[in-house]
Amino acid sequence: MKALMRFVLALLPLGAWAAGIAWLASPEAAPWSPELRLSYSGADFQSADGAERREGDHLIATGMLPGGETVLLLREPPRELAELRYLSFEWEPLPPGLRPLLLWNDSTGTHGVNLPWHGEGGTVDLAQVPGWKAEAHSFGLMFIPLDLAPPTSLEPRRIALKQMRFESVNRRAALDATWTGWTAWRPWTGRSVNTGGFELVLPPKVPAQLGWLSLAAALAIGLAIWRRFRWRRMALAFVLIGWGLLDFAELRQHLWRAVAYPALAESAAQDGRPLAASPTLHAAIAQLQPALRALPAETRVLVFGGDAFSRQYPVFLLREFNVGELPGLAELPADVTDHPTVLVLIGGGDWQFMPASGRLRVGPREWPARALPAAAPLQVYALGPLAEAAR
């Protein structure tokens, strides 16, 4: 009997933890259930590219826009959103390799924000969405491939939207939003090498670390009551359980990636490409390489423009050539046209090619040049003897 009582007592810290999280996660004086709710079924949405069908209340989208994104818009967006703080969404598990964004249009323009999601949907606190104003003219969801995949991969795709609902302040949605934030999938980014992973755009009100650790504390206290631990053993139990829970949360992310990324790599391979840090740049460079291989071996390739990322990645991908990154226009060598040189310009900048005269102006300087076939965001010009040879 005493053992049973101790066991029941041991469960109390767990209850206190749940109550504490509910209190911390919720706005003050919020009811458990919402007073206002606006529900939409999948059938209330339409796909921007028109490739859709309805199965009961669900919308099944199978197409994508040329950039690789599937956009689902509400046919009649809500007019009054001021009172509606939480947004919940539900879909069938997404094809691995896609991630969702919240999309809306208001007086300041079009906005797209990463949505934290897991499994079959999630809940977000709109008050924490950067730039959110409760005056959306249009409203919807956008699904795009993860950063490492070519935009056109994952075709055909099937996105089954079940429902979406707006709710006024309530504790249940606040808890759902916290849980979504704790368990949301985190794709890899280059930033992961500096931190243990990618930080979510929408952090939950109660941070995940604090949540898992407070759960570990509750379990350790419960264990201490049940097994009559002294405080030192309880502290050890807290560290072990806390470490285990944090590792569980991390491993969950890794297992999701273990499913998502190979599937994505397979889709990308069918597209004839590997996963890449920037699929667009990778494709543009892959297209450029045969033209560069046809040039004399002593050709130097100068990469200029864009930001550090968009310069260094092409330099890395073009390592088989005699390639260098031009630090700035001021460093452009005076004798650039004395050697066979190819200038790879990224994005827009202070340069212009004049096809009629066959001349390229870069900053204050101008030379005869020959345009090489290149895809956006690259513009590629052969200078010096290479341009002369073409004449």
Binding site: G196, E199, G242, E250, L255, A258, Y261, P274, Y313, V315
Partner: protein, 471 residues
């Protein structure tokens, strides 16, 4: 492409490292000693071979594997024949073996299971993920990729020198002064493979993660820790999210440097504990390789040398002499300036308020308010699990057992000087911006974390050596 030759390219340097371990330290007999030898041998052998390949620069790279692999293989056979007579390593000083309670048995099995899961996930991710930005693109992956593509180990130069040089004789690099042991090792593997196959080359990183784990668990068992604390320390280290991230991303040298520094601390501590010259020699070899991996390696090597010298002083001199020496050096730097030649960095000049590093310019020293992002990164973000709170607790609330004190001092000095360097770097120089943006802070901290975990594990759980056991 030849997978078999690639496996040989991975194994041969590891076996060479194991041979060095056995030659210097002793013939492993127990599982723990083998794990230590293989873990340490992989790190030292791979990086040592990468550094030695500098001598092969004039050789056409297509002949590297064909000529050097048989030579290395024959050397290893000779070494194996000679080392058969090497005396066996004394059995570890283990606490009296007792049957584990069922709860601990299940905990052990669970931890092995979780580590196996981590390993599978790492291998798969390393195979699938592409090289991600910065260091990989600009230094450690860029150079071997270019060497392999051009067929020559070309020297590197910054933009102006590259442009001036005859075409095809010099490689452009953002960081031409960076050491090349790791790029040469990757080139060696690519030559054996016969192609530049990024996923295959990326496997070196999860293998390094595994080697570090084997070294940590085996080493702690070798020093007498019971299975559970040794495995807990190993699990704590390998499950750190940042360490996990670096077990995946090809082209980053931070985990290599961290593993090497862990070797220095562990074998340095063993040298003092067991009065073992072999361990001391192994630690010196690992120390000598630090600057060959990354520029920061020169700083860590300096910290280790300072720690070793300090630990050789009598206890009273350590207590009073070392702080006094520190104050004198500080005063010297303040008034006259202090010039230190550091491999890879050149002659570094310390003055009051500034540090002059030839390759980096003048670093102005004054306080930067970055405490909040640093604390967030250590204690709140998912980078380090519970590592820092636990270490703080162990440091402040628990005194080490008397048996552990004297021989742990060199490691303690190493960590103390290392963390002092990090505090100066991130709170007093422009590197504070990397702390604020959460970029290099964690990566530089990663260098010292495995050594820290090993030192605290030894401090907390090592049993005393019975008298007359010192080798």
């Amino acid at each position: 492409m030849s997978g078999l030759l690639y496996v040989a390219a991975l194994l041969l340097p590891t076996l060479a490292g194991v041979a060095v371990w056995v030659a210097l330290i002793g013939q492993p007999r127990q599982r723990s000693a083998w794990l230590t030898a293989v873990g340490a041998g992989h790190v030292l052998g791979s990086l040592g071979w990468g550094a030695l390949l500098r001598l092969a620069t004039p050789m056409p790279i297509e002949h590297w594997f064909a000529w050097l692999a048989p030579a290395l293989f024959v050397t290893l056979l000779l070494a194996a024949a000679l080392l058969r007579r090497r005396s066996a390593l004394p059995a570890p000083v283990l606490a009296q073996p007792t049957a584990l309670p069922p709860g601990q048995r299940w905990l052990l099995r669970g931890l092995w299971g979780v580590l196996a899961l981590h390993t599978l996930v790492l291998l798969q991710q390393a195979w699938v993920l592409p090289p991600l930005m910065w260091d990989a693109w600009t230094v450690w992956l860029a150079k071997p990729a270019a060497w392999f593509a051009t067929g020559h180990v070309l020297p590197s130069a910054p933009f102006a020198a590259w442009w001036e040089a005859a075409s095809g004789t010099v490689l452009y690099s953002q960081a031409p002064a960076y050491p090349e042991a790791l790029p040469r090792l990757l080139l060696w593997q690519a030559v054996a493979l016969g192609a530049w196959h990024t996923p295959a080359l990326a496997l070196s990183w999860p293998l390094l993660w595994l080697a570090l784990g084997a070294f940590c668990y085996g080493g702690l068992r070798l020093e007498g820790l019971r299975r559970l604390p040794a495995l807990l320390a190993c699990y704590a280290l390998l499950s750190l999210p940042l360490l996990h991230a670096h077990g995946v991303f090809i082209g980053y040298a931070d985990l290599w440097l961290a593993a090497l520094l862990a070797l220095v601390l562990f074998h340095g501590s063993r040298a003092f504990r067991h009065r073992s010259r072999g361990d001391a020699a192994f630690a010196v070899l690992a120390l000598a390789l630090l600057p060959a991996v990354k520029l920061e390696g020169a700083i860590w090597a300096l910290c280790a040398v300072v720690a070793g010298i300090a630990a050789l002083l009598p206890p009273r001199a350590q207590r009073f002499g070392v702080p006094l020496l520190g104050l004198i050096l500080l005063g010297w730097a303040w008034t006259l300036g202090l010039r230190l030649p550091l491999p890879g960095l050149g002659v570094v000049e310390l003055r009051w308020g500034e540090i002059i590093i030839p390759s980096m310019g003048t670093l102005s020293l004054h306080w930067r308010p970055v405490l909040r992002p640093v604390l967030e990164s250590l204690f709140v973000l998912p980078n380090w699990m519970l590592l820092w709170p636990v270490l703080l607790y162990l440091l402040l609330a628990r005194r080490p057992p008397p048996a552990a004190r004297p021989w742990l001092r060199p490691g303690g000095w190493l960590l103390l000087s290392g963390y002092a360097f990090l505090i100066v770097l991130f709170f007093f120089t422009d590197a504070s911006q990397w702390a604020e943006s959460l970029t290099s802070l964690n990566r530089v901290l990663l260098h010292i974390v495995p050594a820290t975990v090993l030192w605290f594990s030894l401090r907390e759980a090592v049993p005393p050596i019975p008298s007359g056991r010192a080798s």
